[in-house]
């Protein structure tokens, strides 16, 4: 019942599959494409661990069927930086102890990637409000908030210096 041909561009690479209509985008990424960085913590759209970018906007991949992403460009945590490198935000997470068990972390990174793109100079309150869509049980959020503010500052610094990477 309900097989559908679907093509999704994930982290810049096109993937065509014939899939069950009911397959969630999260399960498609994790089990069809083996991109297991996207995690499932609740499957009802609250915890945010499964957050990915769909056409540049954050979305719960547990609340989308993969068929809905037909023709869309999806970015997952694996696509945030080239293999073997870390983005400015990812590095800021290390420096500010922004993760403990690391399970919620990919979702946090996706939300903050969108925030820092749209709001380059966020206040602490901006960061905290953006993060309300992502639950963390380990850190008490302090390191995540610090990492986001730190990364925002580093990214602004990089912008201010033309020619810097």
């Amino acid at each position: 019942m309900g097989k559908q041909a679907t093509r999704v561009i994930v982290n810049g690479k096109s993937h065509a599959r014939v899939i069950d209509a009911r397959l969630t985008l999260a399960d498609f990424l994790r089990h069809e494409l083996n991109l297991t960085g996207t995690h499932l913590g609740c499957e009802h759209g609250v915890c945010g661990a499964c957050t990915v970018l769909v056409d540049g906007r954050t979305a719960r991949s547990c609340l989308m069927f993969a068929v809905q992403a037909n023709g869309c460009a999806v970015t997952t945590v694996e696509g945030l930086a080239p293999e073997g490198q870390l983005s400015v935000l990812q590095q800021a997470f290390i420096d500010n102890h922004g993760l403990q068990c690391g399970f919620c972390t990919p979702g946090m990174l996706m939300t903050l990637t969108e925030l820092l793109r749209d709001t380059p100079a966020p206040s602490e309150q901006d960061v905290r409000e953006a993060l309300t869509g992502n639950l963390c049980r380990c850190t008490g959020y302090a390191g995540i908030v610090a990492a986001a503010l730190d990364a925002a500052q580093r990214l602004r610094g990089a912008l201010a210096k033309p020619g810097s990477p």
Binding site: H39, Q100, A142
Partner: protein, 783 residues
């Protein structure tokens, strides 16, 4: 000890992979031929099982098996899961069978398992399975259940009281008879959960050529899990390997051995294919163990100077339908009450009651938040009644540092007398108050009130027995590559175990942090292990890492001295290189020493040299390590809505010598967040038939980023004299006093209305109802 790695704010070795999406959690493990399981669970809180019809499920395409208890191997079929912590005071040592037989005793108890090609199909088939139940009366409220004559949580039991025990010392009767003041409080703390963001997970694979059963489990205790599984399926330990790979948070509930950890391996053996089960969030709400849920009726006796003379009372503990961890949690609660105070006499009767709910076992704090809530609420009451500042009442009663080691007069749950090894409680409280600007708070409060804002401050102290035994092991081995391999039975669910143990080993051995290759949570890596609970790993595994590292250091020095033709005292070890301070041969790398240590085939080793460079240490603590702390919470209350915001939070924390301040601060901050959840948000609700009501993250509320301020944290380092590193545990202290401090702060904010609170979570609705009863709205609506 040099301070190159130990004590340094080292960023974590775990982070790069997790940040890149290259973590390896159980659900990330893919095996050829993998099948997926879904459990069929009781919708009744209490019912007789009257058979099961699997025909419709079995004919569905993609379904491989439906198993009920009858399909399980011996002895698992009829054997209750092991009771991990027996206790003579436990009258009803009841645990569940892997799949229910005859009777189900809580909603969510596993009745059958379906194995299919995908989880989707397994859920389709589970929905098609017909189980016949005959509903029985359910026991939901432990207060009613404790009384004789009501329905039983198990139909064959004539009582729901699983245990009654009393902890006491001194003469409370005399203390209360002579006291100038006696105050009594009735208190309650909610039932809540660990709620790790990764749910539980099990993957089992039997490899017939080697006859090895490998089980990946999102557990805190793989060695214990392997032992229990071996007993249940009748295999030797060596033929089972249990691996806890990356685990997405633990917080206590993952220390339990669960039915699924037995059933999934049984299914894999039966089907000859790997089988995976990933708990979904709804199952986690139904089946993962929970905590708190205690009713306290306690009284304190004090003199006119607010000096404590005695404390006595009764506590009722809802243990749910089974007691997989015995009575350890109520026992910890009962023995934690005196805390950092001189309490000359004490008596607490504890009644452990069975109900038709999922069992309670330790969740971050493990009984201590309730005990601290009881003690601190009583002290606040004393301060209120005697009109003495709350910090001052505490100061008058705190154990002085010169009284250390301090014998409380009780036996702790480690079986040893409750003796605080070290600590400076007055200094801790003073530091916390200074950092929180406690002294000028009244001015700030007054200024806020003039703007119509109700702010309040509260404080709470605690002492926590951490670092419990029996042991944890660490093997340190220098490899021919120059890397230093470390293996331990300790596990990690986010605590940074790899990083802290690497720091200790690198410090001891003299290698770079990057050269440490760590294996945690794998029974194949080390023969004995225990795992993560009771904030025990820094003390146990940390000490073992130190001892093993020092032994390896000696081996390296001896080998290097021989190789470089100098005496052992001339050898320095640093960054993986042994350097001679004199002589012609300047240095030799650890890798070359490791090759030397392999010897030459057929040639005898030099006298005194052992095979390879390695050592295994199993540190066994003589007793618990007692950490302590003071929390100060500042809140703002919207008196009109009852909304509470924690606006400032301060912690002074003594976990002994700090191995890595980055990680300890993270543990404290995360613990406080959990405590804020307990104080204000988290509440696992059940109806009168013991049906769970809050089984989603929309209904069971975890704290969000807007609910948790960044804490100010001071480290009070008093060295623990009982272990070689001087450390104490740090994992739970953040949670333990938070509800007490926050509720006190709310009361303080609403002091103009003279209201008192005695429960958590303290909901806005309760605050408004209390304010209304106090007549607050006659004033507020008029104003």
């Amino acid at each position: 000890m040099g301070a190159k790695h130990f004590g340094a704010r080292v960023t974590r070795l775990e982070d790069p992979a997790l940040l890149a999406g290259r973590g390896r959690f159980v659900d990330d493990v893919k095996l050829p031929g993998l099948l997926h399981a879904c459990f069929v669970r009781s919708p009744h809180a209490h019912a007789k099982l009257r058979g099961c019809d699997a025909r419709a499920a079995l004919i569905m395409p993609g379904v491989h098996a439906v198993m009920t208890a009858d399909d399980l191997p011996e002895p698992m079929r009829d054997t209750a899961l092991p009771l991990l912590l027996p206790n003579p005071a436990l009258n009803v040592p009841r645990t569940q069978t892997a799949l229910a037989r005859g009777e189900v005793c809580y909603v969510g108890q596993a009745v059958a398992v379906v194995v299919a090609d995908t989880r989707y199909i397994a859920e389709d088939a589970a929905a098609a399975l017909i189980v016949h139940y005959e509903a029985l009366p359910a026991v939901a409220d432990c207060r009613a259940a404790a009384e004789a004559g009501g329905p039983g949580a198990h139909s064959d039991l004539t009582t729901n009281v699983a245990s009654t025990f009393s902890l006491a010392y001194g003469d409370t009767d005399a203390a209360f008879a002579d006291a100038a003041h006696v105050f009594r409080e009735e208190l309650w703390q909610h039932r809540g959960g660990g709620m790790a963001i990764e749910t539980r997970a099990v993957l089992a694979h039997h490899e017939p050529v080697s006859d090895l059963l490998t089980v990946w489990s999102g557990t805190q205790t793989p060695h214990i899990g392997r032992r229990m599984l071996a007993d249940l399926i009748g295999r030797d330990l060596q033929s089972i390997r249990m691996i806890a790979p990356d685990v997405g948070g633990g917080f206590g509930p993952k220390a339990i051995f669960y039915p699924e950890e037995a059933v999934i391996p049984a299914a894999a053996l039966k089907l000859g294919r790997p089988v995976k089960w990933i708990e979904d969030r709804r199952e986690h709400f139904l089946c993962a163990t929970q905590e708190r849920d205690q009713y306290w009726d306690v009284a304190i006796a004090v003199d006119d100077e607010a000096k404590i003379l005695g404390l006595r009372g009764r506590m009722l503990h809802d243990t749910g339908a089974y007691v997989p961890w015995g009575i350890v949690m109520p026992y910890i609660a009962a023995s934690t009450v005196p805390g950092p105070y001189v309490v000359p006499s004490y008596q607490l009767e504890t009644v452990v009651v069975l109900t038709n709910k999922v069992p309670t076992t330790p969740v971050r704090g493990a009984g201590r938040p309730q005990a601290v809530f009881a003690m601190e609420r009583l002290i606040d009451r004393v301060a209120h009644e005697l009109k003495i500042d709350r910090a001052e009442v505490r100061r008058r009663n705190l154990i002085r540092p010169e009284q250390m080691p301090y014998e409380v007069g009780l036996i702790f749950r480690d079986g040893k007398p409750l003796v605080y090894d070290s600590g400076d409680y007055p200094r801790g409280q003073d530091q916390a108050l200074a950092l929180a600007d406690y002294d000028d708070f009244r001015e700030r409060q007054k200024a806020a009130l003039e703007q119509g804002r109700f702010i309040g401050i509260g404080l709470a102290n605690y002492v926590e027995g951490t670092g419990l035994g029996p042991f944890e092991g660490v093997t340190v081995r220098v490899l021919p590559s120059g890397k230093v391999a470390v293996a331990t039975g300790a596990t990690s669910q986010g605590q940074g175990t790899r990083t802290t143990l690497s720091q200790i080993v690198a410090e001891a051995v003299g290698c770079r942090l990057d050269d440490v290759v760590m294996t945690v949570g794998d029974t194949a890596a080390i023969s004995q292990g225990v795992g993560a609970f009771a904030s025990r790993q820094a003390v146990n595994a940390g000490s073992s890492a130190h001892v093993a590292g020092q032994a390896v250091r000696q081996q390296l020095i001896a080998l290097a001295a021989r190789a470089l033709d100098v005496s052992e005292t001339d050898i320095d070890l640093e960054d993986g290189l042994a350097t001679a301070q004199r002589g012609n041969k300047p240095s030799i790398a650890f890798g070359d020493l490791a090759r030397l240590a392999q010897g030459i085939p057929g040639v005898s080793l030099p006298v005194g040299q052992s095979a390879g460079i390695e050592h295994t240490a199993y540190y066994t603590p003589t007793q618990a390590a007692y950490c302590s702390g003071t929390h100060v919470a500042e809140v703002q209350v919207d008196a009109m809505t009852g909304g509470v915001k924690v606006i400032r939070y301060t912690v002074a924390h003594d976990s002994g010598r700090v191995i890595n301040p980055l990680i300890v601060d993270g543990q404290v901050q995360g613990g406080v967040a959990h405590g804020i959840g307990n104080a204000l948000l988290e509440w696992m609700q059940y109806d009168a038939n013991a049906q769970p009501l809050t089984t989603s993250f929309a209904d069971y509320m975890l704290p969000m980023a807007t609910d948790v301020p960044t804490c100010a944290i001071a480290h009070v380092e008093t060295v623990n004299p009982l272990n070689p590193l001087g450390v104490k545990g740090a994992g739970e202290g953040g949670t333990i006093p938070a509800p007490a401090a926050i509720v006190a702060a709310i009361e303080d904010a609403l002091a103009p209305f003279n209201v008192r609170f005695a429960e958590t979570p303290l909901t806005p609705e309760r605050i408004v109802a209390t304010l209304r009863a106090a007549g607050a709205y006659d004033r507020l609506f008029a104003g």
